[in-house]
Amino acid sequence: MMFQIAVNGVDHAVDVDDDTPLLWVLRDVLGMTGTKFGCGEALCGACTVHLDGNPMRSCVTPVGSIGGAKITTIEAAATSAVGARIQKAWLDREVVQCGYCQSGQIMSAWALLARNPHPTDSDIENAMSGNICRCGTYGRIREAIKRAARSHGGEG
């Protein structure tokens, strides 16, 4: 089946079965490999993207269910003020080790700060505990989110 999807503001037509998860459309059909495969069962968060600004696990999101929702991926993080702040905080705090899970971590953090500019520790845990980091960068992720929130100043 042909599907029209809008990824990072660009329309694409893809010809796949309707049950094909968005993850594989992004990675294998459109060649956007920033979004990662980790588990295929929404257990690890590596594949997190935004659908209309909400964090979604693209590995269990069938392309047929997306309709006209706007898809945003890690490749577009720098185009958003919040996304760019998070990327900078990630680098300033030296969060990243192997880096494989970090696309998903940043997408989850971005969605959190977009709706909650000054999250508490518990808000951060709620938003981030679905994202596994095998390198164990959790402490730094928490600090980087707070750093990004602080750099947002009083705007939020």
Partner: protein, 718 residues
């Protein structure tokens, strides 16, 4: 980022030519010298550095990046001695060439593992930089007709203060290349270090926060197909029949491949391949291990510890000392099989041509990856090109080449390039596991409670016996016993035996913190038992045994002080301690543990003191310890691979659980200033935390758990 990927495949070929045809310097390995480099304008005095006429400094990087920061710390070594800024160094992966890029700590095998990169590179890479710097200074001095001793190098230029002359490295690279390669070049004194010891920003991370970093799984090639696979659910089983009628009708499925012990579906994209695989009707002959259970493995190992093993260490006479004991303490310990569960599932891309083969993979041992592809295809190794990539988690998994072998077996049947991607379930169920060990340990105490004798015997798999057979000799290897022998503690009589037993049909492999992942848990738990039997404080007891090991004693004291050891804690909370001498350094950890009424364990805070000798990149040291502690807590609380009917029972993160952010402790790392040789930092944090957690549970509940993972049902309050 420094790695220029766009033209990597082309460059690799060229690189081999440059390296093998250019000016060579023998550091530890006998390297051939030839007359002409491909770029005669460049200075390539050794296998690691090339200074191009345009001033670009290229480091041919012998160690892979899997998150541990080598892409920053190794360039720091070169840049320090070469007197260039870190950002002037561009990095290329070394091609498979064990003669040039073999790891001296790993018997010359070209690999990254065992927390060896900094230790292995510490001298050769600094020497490589110093040699190049010396040649550049000599060439500049010749040009200016001055004494080289009156010139100095800084930020990629040579200066002659008296005349005010200066020249960029690139401009004299060609002249320097014509000079003899000097021997015994002095290295900088640590007091003059500008980079080493400073917290350099990681060079590999900008591409990892914007989606552009290319891990092995991200490789894309024109015309590439995607495959996924199902291997025999029981190790050693075979395919008996495949009905692919339904699978062939799945949209996007291109090809079904049947191997002796696996089936693969090749498709336009991963999901089509996965759907096709699910639609296959495969029958298996489970083979000889069809009924295997973990219980059986444990029973066999337990029995094996009743028989003598190979003597790994003997000091004094344990048997006699036991007879004069005022008190005896005996225990058995057990640690499980563990999967690596790297976040990037196993994958490998191959393109098998008639007379050559290309492999794209993130692997910790790429010369072995090349050999593996050569073996499957029957091609000579020099017809196999391996493109190494960033690694989405190694932890020892990618020291193995089973995935390359499998991908090439599949790729041989495919026209054009194919990327083989394991599902998470396939990744977990066909991992190669940290071995299960069974330990029997006893000690004799004198009237004051101090140890007179230490008697330890354990049974399990030897990874090295398979991975590097020459390292296994007379029933022993250096890894399996690491952390069980040569203890930092002063023990008058010691006897340690290892009984080599390979579990049937279960592949075992290195896993973050390797031998110590097992031994340090046993030793540091048991010394805690002795302290308890002696009625003494666990820190004071250890400390009194560490007079001959001042570095261990010092980290113990520091960790205890920073943790507030001895301060009262609430009911069902406690502090556990561990001390470790491993990977060329010393570490002590104190874990604050809380045990709920229903037995759930939470590690709230970990304080770590480390003396790892000279620190190259302090923030990387901290990051590695933080991550290693999370890795170790995950294993201590949740990690266990079990078998039933010959099948691995776990498959994804629901059944093979990972620590998550809401469970992660705060971690404090205190680094001791030291001028000793650098120690490895990728792993020690993992082995040291496991006993600290178990000892903390004892402090919180009075229950001594001698088997990992922790069983909460034994910790319920009654």
């Amino acid at each position: 980022m420094l790695v220029d990927r766009a033209d990597l495949s082309r460059r690799r070929f060229l690189e081999i030519g440059v390296v093998t045809g250019g000016l060579m310097l023998s550091l530890k390995l006998p390297l051939a010298r030839a007359s002409a480099a491909i770029d005669p304008e460049s200075l390539a005095p050794n296998a690691f550095i090339r200074i191009q006429h345009d001033g670009q400094i290229v480091l041919t990087m012998p160690y892979v990046e899997m998150g541990q920061g080598t892409y920053t710390s190794i360039p720091m070594l070169i840049a320090e001695e070469l007197e260039v800024d870190l950002k002037q160094v561009r990095l290329e992966h070394a091609p498979p060439n064990a003669k040039l890029y073999g790891n001296p700590i790993f018997g010359g095998i070209q690999c990254t593992g065992g927390s060896t990169s900094i230790r292995a590179a510490w001298l050769p890479l600094r020497e490589a930089g110093a040699v190049a710097r010396t040649m550049l200074i000599s060439a500049a001095a010749q040009r200016w007709h001055v004494d080289p001793a009156t010139c100095r190098a800084q930020s990629g230029e040579v200066f002659h203060e008296a005349s005010g002359s200066k020249i960029k490295y690139g401009e004299i690279a060609a002249a320097a290349a014509g000079l003899p390669v000097p021997k015994n070049v002095p290295l900088k004194s640590p007091a003059d270090f500008k980079l080493i010891g400073t917290p350099a920003k990681r060079l590999d991370t900008p591409a990892k926060v914007n989606g552009t970093a290319v891990f092995g799984i991200d490789v894309r090639l024109p015309g590439m197909k995607i495959a996924t696979l199902a291997q025999s659910p029981v190790f050693g089983g075979r395919v008996t029949s495949v009905d692919d009628t339904v699978a062939r009708s799945v949209k996007g499925v291109r090809q079904i491949i049947r191997l002796d012990d696996a089936v693969a579906v090749v498709a336009d994209h991963f999901f089509a391949a996965k759907k096709g695989l699910a639609a296959l009707a495969v029958e298996w002959d489970d083979g000889p291990h069809a009924n295997l259970t973990t219980k059986e493995v444990v029973r066999e190992l337990e029995q094996a510890t009743l028989q003598p093993g190979a003597v790994a260490q003997n000091i004094g006479n344990v048997t006699e000392a036991m007879m004069s004991a005022a008190k005896k303490v005996e225990a058995t310990y057990q640690v499980p099989f563990l999967a690596h569960a790297t976040m990037e599932p196993m994958n490998c891309t191959v393109h098998v041509h008639k007379d050559s083969c290309e492999v794209w993979v993130g692997n910790q041992a790429i010369a072995r990856a090349q050999e593996a592809a050569a073996t499957v295809t029957g091609l000579p190794p020099d017809k196999v090109v391996v493109h190494n990539h960033l690694i989405g988690g190694g932890f020892g998994r990618r020291l193995e080449i089973d995935g390359v072998t499998r991908a090439v077996q599949i790729g041989r049947h495919v026209e054009g390039p194919v990327k083989v991607v394991w599902t998470r379930e396939e990744d977990i169920r066909h991992d190669m596991y940290r071995p299960l060990f069974f330990d029997r340990i006893s000690a004799a105490l004198d009237r004051k409670g101090m140890p007179l004798a230490w008697n330890h015997r354990f049974a399990g798999s030897s990874v090295l016996a398979r991975w590097f057979p020459p390292a296994f000799d007379k029933g022993l290897d250096s890894d399996t016993t690491d952390g069980a022998i040569n203890l930092a503690y002063a023990l008058p009589n010691v006897h340690v035996e290892y009984v080599h037993v390979e579990p049937p049909g279960i592949p075992t492999a290195f896993w973050r913190s390797v031998g110590p992942s097992h031994n340090v848990f046993v030793v540091e738990s048991f010394i805690d038992e002795l302290a308890a039997a002696a009625g003494q404080d666990p820190v004071a007891y250890r400390s009194s045994l560490l007079d001959k090991s001042p570095r261990a004693k010092a980290v113990l004291a520091l960790a205890a002080e920073k943790a507030g050891w001895g301060r009262p804690m609430a009911n069902r909370t406690g502090r556990g301690v561990s001390v470790q001498s491993a990977f060329g350094g010393y570490m002590a950890q104190v874990a604050e543990v809380e045990v709920s009424e229903n037995g759930a364990v939470r590690v709230r805070r970990v304080v770590c003191a480390v003396d790892c000798g000279v620190v190259v990149n302090p923030d990387t040291v901290r990051a590695q310890i933080e991550g290693a502690i999370i890795f170790g807590i995950t294993a201590a609380l949740y990690g266990e691979i079990t078998l039933k009917s010959g099948r691995v029972e776990q498959g994804n993160f629901d059944t093979y659980r990972m620590l998550r952010m809401d469970e992660a402790p705060t971690i404090e790392v205190h680094i001791v200033r030291s001028s000793e040789e650098p120690g490895g930092m990728g792993e020690p944090g993992t082995s040291a935390i496991m006993p600290a957690v178990a000892n903390g549970i004892y402090a919180a509940t009075g229950k001594r758990l001698r088997k990992l993972p922790i069983d909460p049902s034994q910790l319920k309050s009654t």
